[in-house]
């Protein structure tokens, strides 16, 4: 039963990272790409960390996993905000709404 849960969590985590990669390739502008990468990647890494730490089942591994999760959820929005704020081109979002496919 443990193995099934851990396998499902790890497959889901890597699938979310794959979704983020497809998003960064397919979206039309920078804001869409940041939207895809920030949230899906954070959730995928969270699922992978939960799965691996459930597999090892040690105290230090749980502490390190908690550290990584807290740090990623603190810094991923900050990094995306910092990237989007320095974007010089495409200042007016109403110009090319048709390209946001």
């Amino acid at each position: 039963m443990d193995k099934i849960i851990i396998s499902a969590v790890i497959l889901l985590g890597s699938f979310f990272i794959l979704v983020a990669a497809i998003g960064i390739l397919r979206f039309g502008d920078l804001n869409g790409r940041l939207h895809a990468t920030t949230k899906a990647t954070s959730f995928g890494i969270l699922l992978l960390l939960v799965g691996v730490s459930l597999y090892f089942n040690l105290f230090t591994v749980y502490v390190k996993a908690l550290l990584i999760i807290v740090f990623i959820y603190l810094t991923a929005p900050l990094a995306a905000h910092s990237i989007a704020k320095t974007f010089s081109g495409n200042k007016d979002p109403s110009e090319n709404q048709d390209e946001n496919t």
């Binding site: 443990d2 790890i10 983020a20 990468t37 597999y55 704020k85």
Partner: protein
Amino acid sequence: MTGTIPDIVLYTAFAFLMVSMILTLIRLLKGPSVNDRIAAMDLISSIIMGIILVYALLIQNAIYFDVPVIISLISFIGTIAVSTYLKQKNG
């Protein structure tokens, strides 16, 4: 240690992560602006974290868990550094 995970699960996870690495590298090579390339670089660091986690599961060694801590710290610093440089360059 609670039994071993089936190999097919780990190899499928590796396949997902490798395909996402290839897609992100395509965006890194052809991204129109520098900001796209920074976003792709940020995603690549996260993919490498995932690969190392699955690899630690494959060889059953918990010492590899230290590596994602360092990668998550360094990738944030790198992203902020390049963004600050671009902000100062653009005025």
